[in-house]
Amino acid sequence: MKSRMVLFIIGYLIWLLLGWPVDLQHVLIGLPVAGFVTFVTGDLFSQRIHRLRQITRYVWFCYYVPMFLWECLKANIDVALRVLNPSLPINPGIVRVKTTLKSDTALTFLANSITLTPGTFCVDIDPKEGILYIHWIYVQSQDTEKATQLIVKKFENILRKIFD
């Protein structure tokens, strides 16, 4: 039930932002719309709602966002340089990495972060075993441990503090 209330508030806020500037019409129509979305989604939004109250998670999230944007910018420059280089320096392949994260949200964010960071993107996840299959545009190591060290470690620790 709490999950639905949080979802209702978030949905209503997004509705108000979409309909900016706020006037009476938007405010009134938003209530049934957000209510309907909440009703249809049910309890899918979060299973462990008490975690939304832990302040330290938000602090770590604020640290994660600029780090993520910086990695994203590096990724773009990296890909742009590879593409513009006449000899096209690529050495692609799919490698296997391990993660210790468990919750669905954490795994989703890990996969998204990996996709938007330099040279790597996520092809498939095996949540039971904690294995991610990563396509790497310039394979530096085919060994699972070494690849894990290079790709996953910098995000794993901080994402565990936020979501797990």
Binding site: V79, P92, I94, V123
Partner: protein, 108 residues
Amino acid sequence: MSEAIGTLFIVVGLGFDIFGCIGLIRLPDVYNRLQATTKCVTLGTCGILFGTFILKGFCATGIKALLTIVFLLLTSPVAAHALARGAHKSGVKLCDKSVCDKYAEDKK
């Protein structure tokens, strides 16, 4: 001043979009092409939208641009992941230059 910064963001964003498109043409197979398009096009489009936000400020257009950045950052990696997984499941091979394919090994 804000006009200059906004235009700069839009120009840089357009530049990254163009690099993404060049990558789409030059790189050899589906997976490498997805690398170029997800990374460059995500940040390029976010740059254009952020430039729009700076030019317009907190009005109807600017707020929608900011919301679109959030949705784009959340959804575009998921789309790339779905495309790559679908391509691999339906048997698209990696290009000849590829050094390893642990995913195909594990699926057997």
